[in-house]
Amino acid sequence: MVEIKNLHKKFDDNVVLDGVSLSVDEAQNMVVFGRSGTGKSVLLKCLIRLMEPDEGDILVEGKDVLKLDIKELNELRKDIGFLFQGAALYDSMSVRENLEFPLVRNFNFDKNEIDTRVNKVLEAVSLEDAIDKMPAELSGGMKKRIGLARAIITKPKLMLYDEPTTGLDPITAKEISTLILELQKAYNMTSVVVTHDLLCAKIIADYAIVLNEGHVSHQGTIEELVSSKDSFLKNFFSDEVFKNGRN
């Protein structure tokens, strides 16, 4: 589903990605770990070409993302959902308008189909009552849920999550993580999840990689990584680091 080969990205003299290679199989959930500033979000943004990498190849559904023209790229983006760290809801639009936005502009759905999809995703994230609220009226957890609903409303094949539980209390974070897993199963999506949250990763991940010094330093299942004798991983997954590292 996703294949990244030898990806490089730097900002001025700061090398962020230095030859990242990875692949994600269809319907697999891959979690990306790494310390702050190791380029996890940059990796996600390069994947969907919100940022242009300096070098490397990115294949999504067999298409070379970096060689697509803007029209082809937008077609591909219809199959990709993205949950931003702050949910990125359009704050001048109501929840309904936020959800309708990608449908109205990218698909020739009639009003009934749009209403059906809006109600269905709101039901999936358990926020039917929020339909006419403005983003400013929602809590952090509700914003994440609506952001998630907006991302899946087009029924994407690939979902990208940038720190889905950051800024949430542990209970809400667990709820969001469980919701992500449920939706992934219901929609049969492939997911790439950038997170610092071990609990979130334990719930979601089939497979995980660790980014360190610009490249994939470790990979395996969560259990393999957590139980590893490697000093970096032992330090990274220690309770103390997690407590302090949690935003």
Binding site: K45, E75, K78, F82, A88, D91, R105, R150
Partner: protein
Amino acid sequence: MKEMFIPPYEVHEIRKHMIELGMKTLPIVGVTGFIIGLVMTMQLQPVLQRFGAEAFLPGSIGITIVRELGPVITALIFAGRVSSGIGAELGSMRVTEQIDAMEVSGVNPFRFLVVTRVFATTFILPILTVYVIFIALFGGYIAVVLVQNMTWQYYVDRVVFAVAFADAVPGVMKTFVFGFIVGIVGAYLGFNAKNGTEGVGRASTTSVVIASLLILIFDMVLVKLTLWLWPAVK
């Protein structure tokens, strides 16, 4: 520029912005127009009286307001109110990743956010200018009435007699350019805002300064161009 003419046109968004921006600016430009008309007449009246040319007062007011003061004052107030607002709004959308979210959803954010606002400012400013011209002329009349006995009918007749079509058209036409400047400057700076809230603040304040300066520079150029292309205005 190319993006402005390629379908699909976000007509609903353009209309929404025109109404919003127009309604938001209407009271402030109205009050400003009234005061400018009033004060300018109060200043002009004793000067004309000194030269025994009081009869030319309504005509002078009309020509000054229609040709220059109405369009430029409206554009400057509009820049202060709207360019900064657009800069702050789009800047805020940029730093909170809303523009990225739009791009990811396969929608061209430049067309949806920038083009619609530039269209709206370009076409709403001339309408506001015409409104301000009438309000300013009314303000001028109030100032005239305070110092001399003149009927509204006589005042309007003298204004209409003095202001030719050739005065009104370039005056209003140049506001299309001013409206475009207000929209494009605010939208460009907001759309490309960086560095979090600091960048949003910078986009907002810089928009006003640059838009105001460009309005004055383009006014100078357009006045010269008008006089050169359309000698009847002289």
